[in-house]
Amino acid sequence: MKQQTQEIREELERRLAAGGCATRKELVELKLEYLGKGGKISALSKGMRDVPPEERPEAGRLLGELRGWAEEQFDTREQEFKRLELAAKVAGERIDVTMPAKFSAGGSVHPVTLVRRELEEIFSGMGFNIYEGPEIERDYYNFQALNIPADHPARDMQDTFFVGGEYLLRSQTSSGQIRVMEKQAPPIKILSPGRVYRSDSDATHSPMFHQMEGLVVDKNITLCDLKGILDEFARRMFTAETKTRFRPSYFPFTEPSVEVDLSCKNCGGKGCRICKGTGWIEVLGAGMVNRKVLANCGIDPDVYTGFAFGIGLERIAMIKYGIGDIRLLFENDVRFLRQFRD
């Protein structure tokens, strides 16, 4: 038996040696020839009957050893064939990784909304709430309560659309000031954003645009506080270097009133085409709330002071993104809109 197993092992070693099995098919056939049901090793097992009983354990051990060895040989070579086949398959699967990706692009948010959102974030962090008043307003809220009586020349500053009776399309979000102050006692810190309307249409004026009114009413509010708040707004909305400048102006609902300029971010204040060489860009109007306006809303002007400011959202968007014509903001060309990612 020992000799037989030795012979088979040597024969198999020879046949498995280099060039012995070129293909996986040949290997499977060879495996069948030795380990299959009628294979050579199985035939040897059948010969166990003829082995004298006392030699059987040793013969069985030798046979088991041979079988184990043969199986291991075949397994190793099979694994090798599998590895080669996979490698060949993978080698054929090379792709051009620079081809375009497939994905669904998200949408975009309107630049005016982007600005509005940013303002809301800046100011809500300072304790401001957001109040949205009606767009179709009574003359009282848009003008009279703001110290702009009928036939006041200040009405010329805002060419107003009327819709009948005492109703008009609000020309400023300042109307929201009054509605809040009527209902709420100080301390008040609100922003009132929304659509406003003026009869004006060209590259820098749109008959409909957006404003955001800010209002603070409390004890001991000063012009310096207004400056501090707006400085912070300028730094956050634009750059940390952006400065604000106050200069005297006139609005019937504030006294003193100021026009607020920002240092031109394009030239850093040196003067350029965008700021018309002045180094400053006019962005908003503001001031200390007029005593009459407080009194109109039942707030004692001897106890409380406050400030208000009005920001044009389109104007900020145009400055921030370098948009040259306000009309682009309302054409809704998707090539324009898609540039303003969420």
């Binding site: 009327f162 009948g164 004890k219 000063t222 707006l230 005593r291 060309d333 998707v334």
Partner: protein, 795 residues
């Protein structure tokens, strides 16, 4: 408002460069919008003396001149076509390389073979007329007069060496609408004395009352009316100095008396008028409301029909002037006018404004009255006019005048304190500084400790309270001294968005995740937009703007559809062949028309989707994504809209109530608009959706046993809808948690009018696992129910 620097210098010494002056005015609230050097166009143009004139050898009309231009050349040869010149004349010479009015450049050249080293100039070529320089209107070369040095710059000679400051005056500062008003500010800014106006004159012995009577019947609209008679008016020419100032401010000289009224208007901001008394019937001046239907023809020959809203100046018979706006043609000053009545009045500003608007008639006068003219100035401007009459020697001045309602106006006194002013400003302006600033602005100030009593100058009718005083202080002290503080004394408040505001932000975000871009469209649309969508009747419900920019923007929209369609179509026309737009905006719903109570502004969502890859179901995805974000379940039912495809249109339902619509643009409308890609429109009542929204997160534990899925292929009549099948499936077994249609097949094997629908049904176990046998049982039950209720069979 235009202010010539030379005029300003009559009243205050300006020793700083004009640019610096403009900067100072800007920082105190008077923005110089434009600073114009009057001679800015003229360069290298000098005085030249014609030494010699000889005829041109090859021309009948040209002459060759030799000019002495001093340092620029003592014998400069210039060829000219003009003939109003003589040897010895002083003329303006444009040298080689010079610039003239209108950007004309002069270069050395040859005229018919003879070299010409420049040009002799006419007044027009220098951009001047007879009001700026006597003789400048002459057709030909401007002959200069006086003793001039050849070679000297022409600009000072012809009055072009001057600046005009165009200043924007805010609506509250009516006192600054004049040269003298600006001079007052400049004096305060520069710390220089303000020179007084010359107001004195020598009256004669006759009385105005002998010539005319004056009655003010509408004192509410005419708080002060001064009338002063000037006799024996002559036609003395207006002197150059006056004409020149009028010209620099853009006014032409007309005749002496009219020029004086215009001069006073510019110098003092007080509009004046002069009537030819010979045309004033009954020697009466009556200031009254117009009678309904009364007519007047103004100086510019426009006729107006009046109402009692309009204030007029009348004689015994008829209106002779539209108060504060313009005189009547019937009492115009003419060459023959001898007796003149000067009017210097204060008219109520709101009324002037109303009348001016209503009639569409404006003037320099009405512009000033609209902003307000103060009674103090009214009282002294008449003196200034009479003084000018005397200076010009153009008439004889009556000894007295009518001054109706000339009651002393009470000075405005503000009781305040240094601490109150500084509390508003937030900085500490020293008391002495406050007093100095206010005094420089002609306020009188008395103080007692912290307390201040401030009396405003008579011309400052805008001063109301201590904040006005604080503003005067800070605009002079300098806004750059305001240091930012961060609400250092204010109470803390909680800020942030309300839940409703956050919900809308989330809804928008859900749409953007579906690839939608946010659009913003105008709130007003056109009646034609409604007609285009064949819902013309809807337009009748829309709120109409009384004074729209145009018919295209005349209606407050009651639907977002037209606006989004318009945006989509514009995109398609520009070659943007696919896109998804959404907008959250209000629609405007009147409770009744015309509007008498607050209309409803209803938050609405609109979408427009177009492109080759889009279909009804991709569009529907927007509403489903929206519903999912808000925790809502929408259902859809076939519907019709005149502007949508009748077979591809759905009503969107929330709890059985219709809250929106979605569909494909009607094919014929698409053709009309030349839209060749599929285009879908949707609109949703956001307010109604938001009301029911449940945006909170409701966590459900994961199932303890695996879910079981079964696919069902069902044969159905064409009329059976997916929703019906889903409903029956869901109702037939309590373990069904999802029903998803994944295929619809139509074909010959199935038969005409039928379709095969393939669903995946998900069963979610509860107490115990679902075995394959259990699932088979549920499927049998479902199929049975589908057969009974909808006539479906399993394939």
């Amino acid at each position: 408002m235009k202010v010539p620097l030379s005029w300003l210098k009559d009243y205050v010494d300006v020793e700083i460069p004009v640019e610096e002056l403009a900067q100072k005015l800007f920082s105190c609230g008077l923005e110089v919008e434009e600073l114009v050097y009057v001679g800015q166009e003229i360069d290298r143009c000098v005085v030249g003396r014609i030494e010699k004139i000889v005829p041109h050898p090859d021309s009948d009309h040209l002459q060759i001149c030799s000019l002495n231009c001093g340092a620029h050349g003592e014998s400069i040869q210039i060829v000219t076509g003009a003939h109003n010149i003589a040897e010895g004349d002083l003329v303006p010479v444009a040298l080689d390389g010079s610039s003239l009015h209108g950007g004309v450049k002069i270069k050395k050249g040859k005229l018919r073979g003879v070299e010409s080293c420049g040009m002799l100039c006419s007044g027009e070529e220098l951009g001047i007329n007879g009001d700026l320089y006597d003789g400048a209107d002459v057709n030909g070369i401007l002959i200069l007069h006086g003793d001039l040095v050849p070679g000297s710059d022409i600009k000072p000679v012809v009055g072009l060496d001057d600046y005009v400051l165009d200043i924007a005056v805010t609506a509250n500062r009516s006192d600054c609408q004049s040269v003298y008003g600006i001079a007052r500010e400049v004096a305060a800014l520069l710390g220089k004395p303000l020179k007084p106006l010359a107001l004195d004159y020598t009256p004669l012995s006759f009385s105005t009352a002998d010539e005319v009577s004056v009655t003010v019947e509408a004192p509410d609209l005419c708080p002060r009316y001064i009338a002063h008679y000037v006799a024996e008016l002559n036609n003395a020419p207006t002197p150059l100095w006056m004409r020149r100032r009028l010209a620099l401010c853009g006014l032409r000289s007309i005749r002496n008396v009219v020029d004086i009224t215009n001069f006073v208007l510019l110098e003092m901001g007080q509009p004046m008028h002069a009537f030819d008394l010979s045309h004033v019937a009954g020697k009466q001046i009556i200031v009254r409301r117009a009678k309904a239907g009364e007519k007047i023809v103004t100086l510019d020959e426009k006729e107006f029909t009046l109402t009692p809203e309009n204030l007029v100046i009348c004689d015994a018979e008829k209106p002779v002037a539209l108060a504060g706006i313009m005189g009547g043609l019937n009492s115009e000053i003419e060459a023959e006018t001898r007796g003149v009545l000067f009017e210097c009045a204060k008219f109520e500003r709101a009324n002037v404004r109303r009348t001016s608007r209503a009639l569409g008639q404006k003037s320099d006068s009405s512009a000033r009255y609209e902003k307000g003219v103060d009674s103090y100035t009214t009282g002294i401007a008449i003196n200034r006019a009479l003084r000018l009459v005397q200076e010009l020697g153009c008439g004889k001045i009556a000894r007295d005048r009518f001054d109706v309602n000339a009651e002393e106006t009470k000075p405005i006194v503000v009781e305040t304190s240094v601490s109150a002013i500084n509390a508003l400003l937030g900085i500490e302006v020293p008391k002495e500084e406050i007093k100095r600033i206010l005094t420089s602005l002609n306020f009188s100030v008395t103080s007692r400790g912290d307390a201040l009593t401030v009396t405003a100058p008579a011309y400052r009718e805008d001063i109301e309270g201590y904040p006005d005083i604080a503003e005067e202080v800070i605009r002079m002290y300098g806004y750059d001294r305001i240091e930012g503080t961060f609400l250092k004394n204010a109470s803390s408040t909680m800020g942030g968005l309300t839940d409703a505001q956050k919900l809308e932000a989330r809804a928008g975000s859900a749409l953007r995740r579906q690839g939608y871009s946010e659009a913003i469209t105008y709130s007003f649309i056109s009646p034609r937009d409604y007609a285009l969508l064949r819902i013309a009747d809807e337009a009748k419900k829309a709120i109409r703007i009384v004074n729209p920019i145009g018919e295209d923007m005349s209606l407050m929209r009651t639907t977002l559809v037209p606006s989004l369609l318009d945006s989509a179509v514009r995109n398609v026309r520009r070659g943007n062949d696919a896109g998804r737009l959404y907008e959250f905006a209000n629609i405007y719903l009147a409770k009744e028309l015309p509007v008498t109570e607050q209309p409803e502004e209803r938050r609405t969502l609109g979408i427009a989707v177009w492109g080759g890859a889009e279909n009804f179901f991709t569009a529907k995805g927007a509403f489903e994504a929206f519903a999912a974000e808000l925790g809502l379940q929408f259902s859809y039912a076939p519907a019709e809209r005149p502007y949508l495809h009748p077979g591809k249109c759905a009503a969107v339902l929330l709890n059985g109530k219709e809250i929106g619509v979605l569909g494909e643009l009607a094919p014929d409308l698409a053709e009309e608009l030349s839209v060749e890609v599929p285009l879908y429109l949707g609109e949703l009542d956001y307010a109604a959706a938001a009301e029911q929204a449940d945006a909170a997160v409701h966590y459900v534990p994961l199932p303890a046993f695996p879910e079981v899925r079964r696919d069902l292929a069902l044969l159905a009549e064409e009329s059976v809808s997916c929703a019906e099948v889903e409903k029956v499936i869901a109702e037939s077994c309590k373990y069904v948690t999802a029903v998803h249609l994944f295929d619809v097949y139509r074909g010959a094997q199935i038969g005409e009018g039928k379709k095969s629908m393939a669903f995946t049904v998900t069963f979610t176990p509860r107490e115990k696992a679902i075995s394959p046998e259990d699932a088979d049982g549920y499927v049998r039950r479902i199929v049975k129910a589908l057969g009974e209720k909808l006539g479906l069979s399993q394939r």
